[in-house]
């Protein structure tokens, strides 16, 4: 399933996106000039303007975005990079798209739960107003439904992990899907459930959808009791071996689901996506977690030294210069996780930010583009 509802670009916009335009505007590129008129005029960089902010239940906000025509649409389950500028500083986070692919105005939404220590999620929840420009990326991620959607599928989620599977469910509904779908969601309580109203509507209007909600901290409320177990699948009459399943949620839930499918020999039926907030450990016990060297496909246990040293230990030869934070030659993209600057002691936890690996060490799990 996919969507590309962009209005067709006119001749001028198409010319601006050509390589000739790129050569004429070298070295900065055509977007650098277009954005001087309006930040949304860029032909390569995806940007959007906030058209609406809806406060959902469970301290979550849905931000509806009107992307510019550099946006090429999304497949339900994918996520986008979401950058906002506050005090001159751009902060980028990654959020799943929560809306249906069927919106005919070309807009999409992300839904974000406000975390106490999440700067951007708090900002979205409290301050973001219609008209704000958001620096986006194209939709990314492989946690998607196939073009040919099979019948008898299970969409399983916990907490805020509901957003990508909600996008799948709503997209299926709007595409006229009629084959059986089970939607199994775990929330702490009914008050904590983000899309309560939208799910009620699906229950009322979609006979093909079986929606089951479990409230783990409200015994007796919900359709099933307690945390996810194999018994829950049995009660719903679901056989992992024959049920294509998409699961998204916190690490604990995903691990249990994985184990269940592994035990049933049905790992190939399961696609998962984690949702988690990494723990930023500000104490001396920095040497925890795993350093993921993304391009090399290596995971090494964090030994507390700088990322450059650990990468070299792992057999990589990253580019470097002064090895003391001056020359920027070793700068790489940190995809996620927290790092501590060994010079200043500052901890940074932004997604997709440039760090100098010679003077930063991981604090817990970190993934870098090396």
């Amino acid at each position: 399933m996919s969507t590309d509802r962009r209005p067709r670009r006119g001749l001028a916009r198409r010319l601006l996106a050509t390589r000739l335009a790129d050569h004429l505007t070298a070295p900065h590129g055509v977007d650098r000039f277009l954005e001087q008129l309006d930040p949304l005029l860029t032909v390569h960089q995806v940007r959007g303007v906030v058209s609406e902010v809806v406060h959902e239940t469970g301290a979550a906000s849905t931000v509806v975005l009107a992307p510019n025509d550099a946006w090429t649409g999304f497949r339900p389950g994918q996520h986008v990079q979401f950058g906002v500028e506050v005090d001159g500083k751009r902060r980028v986070r990654v959020f799943s798209v929560s809306s249906s692919t069927a919106r005919d105005d070309g807009r999409f939404s992300v839904t974000v739960k406000a975390h106490d220590d999440g700067y951007v999620s708090q900002y979205l929840h409290r301050e973001m107003a219609p008209g704000t420009v958001v620096y986006l990326s194209e939709a990314e991620g492989e946690f998607v439904l196939p073009e040919e959607v099979p019948g008898g599928l299970l969409l399983l989620s916990g907490g805020s992990g509901i957003t990508p599977v909600m996008s799948m469910l709503l997209s299926l509904r709007d595409a006229g899907h009629t084959r059986p779908v089970t939607f199994l969601h775990y929330a702490r309580s009914a008050d904590d459930e983000i899309f309560r109203g939208a799910l009620d509507e699906v229950v009322a209007t979609c006979p093909w959808a079986t929606v089951r909600r479990v409230y783990t901290r409200e015994p007796g409320a919900g359709d099933l009791q307690g945390r996810f177990t194999t018994a829950h699948l049995d009660l719903l009459g679901i056989d992992p071996a024959t049920t294509p399943t998409w699961a998204c949620g916190p690490a604990g839930l995903i691990e249990t689901v994985r184990k269940t499918y592994a035990e049933a020999g049905a790992e190939q039926m399961l696609a998962v996506e984690y949702f988690k907030v990494p723990k930023v450990d500000l104490d001396a016990a920095d040497a925890t977690g795993t350093l993921s060297l993304d391009s090399a496909g290596l995971d090494v246990p964090n030994d507390g030294r700088t990322i450059l040293e650990q990468a070299e230990e792992a057999g990589l030869t990253p580019e470097f210069g002064c090895r003391m934070g001056i020359c920027h030659k070793c700068t790489v993209k940190k995809k996620h996780g927290a790092v501590r600057n060994v010079l200043s002691g500052e901890v940074r936890a932004d997604t997709d930010e440039d760090i100098r690996i010679c003077i930063n060490k991981p604090v817990g799990d970190v993934c870098v583009a090396l």
Partner: protein, 406 residues
């Protein structure tokens, strides 16, 4: 199976306080115990430490204050530069209106000057990295000049700013072309000093590009030809893009005015070359700017590093617009003390820096553009001649060491 992290928790507080792209003092690899002697002819170790505390405090105060205003400033400069470039290119279509061509050259020259100096030089120092905007990030920025950003960042940000004015380490002393300091050994070729400098002025962007290739590393055996080639892999592509844009595509777009556009673009590049050359030669080459030996600076303290930056740099006085057009390199002293702080802050802190220099008895070298250029020109002429015998026997650095020992 897929594992993607969807949300990240705590981010840093919204300030640039932790921003740190400054060079480190020199460390000796062979003798880690020895203390550096730089500055001892003027100050004691204790005074040098106090100097470092005072300057570090100014630095931290500015960093804590960085925010929206600084972001707005650099974006405003980018907006003006983009506008000037578009105007310059557009005016080339109207060469039949006499002042249009001239106005086009002026616009394009100013655009290139702003791009290279107030934007490019400063962005590539990491002055705006804290904004986390890819368009203003030191790692990604590329400038409107033939030399690619990567080579320049190596020779300038690292070598020049770390080893400022240290003989044998800072390749910017005379740019390997002219004799501008009496501690550079004299050679008959320097008889052509003034001619070489005058010639370099017109082709400055090509000179910078060649300088950044660091071909001398091949000659000295420090690198093999393969290493030199690998290090400069992007240079040819960058040159091609610049040349094709200014001398093929835009002239072709103006059709019958091909030659006039080509001449206009060529002129703009020359104007930028002349301007950049003069500003940059005034930064470290006027009279009384000091140079240092590597030995005297090894294991230097932060205070000694600061002292070396002050004594090794010279400012140019002028109006606000003049400062912007020099990329605030007219505040060379402030820039060398804090190369990673946004340049618009240099004029703001300059009075304080000057007061500190006065208090510690450090020369704060400043003067009008005319005065500083005159001073550089005089040195180019006198240092091109063979040194007098008595001066040649005791180079300045050795003389300073002798003073210390005495």
């Amino acid at each position: 199976m897929l594992t993607t992290l969807l949300n990240i928790g705590k981010g840093p507080v919204p300030s640039a306080s932790d921003h740190d792209e400054r060079p480190r003092p020199l460390v000796s690899e062979t003798d880690p115990e020895r203390r550096a002697t730089v500055g001892l002819d003027r100050l004691t170790y204790e005074q040098l430490d106090e100097l470092a505390v005072e300057l570090d405090a100014i630095r931290q105060r500015v960093l804590d204050d960085l925010g929206q205003e600084d972001a707005d400033y650099i974006r405003r400069v980018v907006k003006v530069q983009s506008g000037l470039e578009i105007a310059g290119r557009a005016l080339m279509f109207l060469p039949f209106i006499p002042p249009a061509w001239l106005a086009g050259v002026a616009s394009l020259s100013l655009s290139k000057i702003l791009d290279n100096m107030e934007i490019g030089h400063n962005v590539m120092h990491g002055q705006y990295d804290w904004m986390n905007d890819p368009a203003l990030n030191s790692k990604q920025f590329e400038w409107d000049i033939v030399g690619p950003a990567a080579g320049w960042k190596m020779t300038h940000n690292y070598e020049h700013h770390t080893f400022t004015n240290i003989h044998g380490k800072d390749r910017d002393i005379g740019y390997g072309l002219v004799r501008i300091d009496e501690d550079q050994p004299w050679h008959p070729v320097y008889l052509a000093n003034p001619v070489l400098a005058f010639g370099l002025m017109f082709i400055f962007e090509w000179g910078v590009m060649l300088h950044d290739l660091e071909l001398d590393k091949l000659q000295s055996g420090e690198e093999t030809w393969e290493q030199v080639k690998a290090r400069n892999a992007g240079t040819l592509r960058k040159i091609r893009r610049q040349v094709v844009k200014d001398y093929v595509l835009f002239p072709a777009l103006t059709g019958p005015f091909f030659l006039s556009t080509l001449a206009g673009n060529f002129s703009a590049n020359i104007v930028r070359n002349i301007w950049a050359f003069n500003v940059i030669f005034c930064g470290h080459f006027p009279a009384d700017v000091e140079t240092f030996s590597e030995e005297s600076a090894e294991n230097e303290s932060r205070g000694q590093w600061y002292l070396r930056q002050v004594l090794g740099s010279a400012n140019i006085s002028g109006s606000k617009v003049f400062h912007i057009l020099t990329g605030n390199l007219s505040h060379q002293i402030e820039h060398h003390l804090f190369p990673d702080i946004p340049s618009r802050r240099y004029p703001q802190i300059a009075p304080e820096i000057r007061e500190i220099c006065d208090r510690y008895g450090l020369t704060y070298n400043t003067g009008s553009l005319g005065k500083q250029i005159g001073s550089v020109a005089k040195k180019l002429f006198t240092l091109g001649l063979p040194p007098r015998k008595d001066a040649a026997a005791t180079p300045a650095a050795a003389r300073r060491d002798d003073d210390l020992a005495a």
